[in-house]
Symmetry: C2
Subunit: 288 residues, 2 copies
Amino acid sequence: MSPPVVVDTIQELREQLKARAGTGRVGLVPTMGALHAGHERLLDRAAAGCSIVAVSIFVNPLQFDREADLRQYPRTLEADVATCARHGVDLVFAPAPREMYPREQACTIEVGRLADHLCGRFRPGHFQGVATVVMKLLQIVRPDAAYFGEKDAQQLAIVRRLAADFNVPVEIVGVPTVREPDGLALSSRNVHLRGAERALAPALYAALLEARRLIEAGVIEAAVIRQAAESRIPVDDLLRLEYLEVVEPDEMQPVAQVRGTVLVAGALWVGATRLIDNILCRPLEGKV
Amino acid sequence: MSPPVVVDTIQELREQLKARAGTGRVGLVPTMGALHAGHERLLDRAAAGCSIVAVSIFVNPLQFDREADLRQYPRTLEADVATCARHGVDLVFAPAPREMYPREQACTIEVGRLADHLCGRFRPGHFQGVATVVMKLLQIVRPDAAYFGEKDAQQLAIVRRLAADFNVPVEIVGVPTVREPDGLALSSRNVHLRGAERALAPALYAALLEARRLIEAGVIEAAVIRQAAESRIPVDDLLRLEYLEVVEPDEMQPVAQVRGTVLVAGALWVGATRLIDNILCRPLEGKV
């Protein structure tokens, strides 16, 4: 397997894609780098569905609401390219911010109500920044399919809606979350977790599992489900639950009662690190 | 010359485009119908530059800030198709609102500061609606070039910025305004002008010409230029000047002094009809 071609300009990327035009489906895996096994699942899924796989590695300033988070976000390009090589990636696009935003981005994507809750409520402008850079990447690469992790469920829902609302001819593929043995969802931010923090971090997934257990047992009141789930977060100075919500899975609107498939999603601060996770829950047949 | 194929669904349009793929450049002329000689200039320009010309005819509800304006906007599909046939158009895409907006458009384009002045200031949401539908049409048709009239100068500037900001691989072509012998810019809304109104309507262009005369004579103070131009609008109960501004031509920001090429743009209410027009003005060499 030959190593990927690494380019940092839009023009080079388009030339590389043009040289491969007509040889099969093009798959895009948009990432911010610091690739982990969750990303590897995306790469494998793209390779299975497409003959040309392009990976973008770009820490998008537009989607960071905290300057410190942007500054500290792990950047590991060399290792990322090696990971891409192991998974049969053809093209790595790793532009500098100036290449993506040569001047002020005057036109941006407004995502509306899908960003009103969950992370969108706590990270003003975040999903506008995500949707804007995703739209740019979709125009630059023009892939047949684009791959996103289900760990970022609200992001995935917004990207799906973005593509549908703007009639972008691309298949948006969601790829299941990869977890550590203790349940912690893989995230590039996990590298920031120190000893005691790492031990506490799986509490978020434990809370989500408790929510699913209740839903599958026939509990329908979201308030009850939330309270039971939140009780699984230990009382600890290192932990602060930002939100834990029960929402319908397309438009990410909170529900008062579970009347069909719902998404239970949460954000937990562990020390100075913010972790998110979610779980799709289907009530048992005959219980709704 | 064979008549155009007329379709009203996105799927049919894409099939028609796919059947013609690889046979040459695709040009898109987005319109709201009620085609006049100004549009015909767009069609001819597209036909000159492209081997496949698609015309969209869609009165876009998203860009109307006044319900009455949307309701009264002239709709003349049969005549429009005949006009397209005379100008060698290959495809006419005339979707119903439900085809373009099958559900609430959650994601929209925010256009930022380019919409802060001129029409954007007086028509809240208008350019967001324009940019949104243009982005949709660019994704549906994926043209190599798209053609817009210079009469709508702010719209043209926003569409150029939209394509650049989102890296849409399309050439945006501006086509000069077509005028009646007395200077009135052609517009689909001119059909609403009654006798006395029609006689007064060229006042807007006369005002713009006066602004250009001053600028070419070396006047640089925008306030002076505006005042002189506005004095060309007769005092009449039928006329109300909404704005007349001197702006730089890329980001549509007002200038206090003319230090290079500027756009002078105005909106004039003539009875119940709102007309817009503009003129690009270059100061004489050595005068700046």
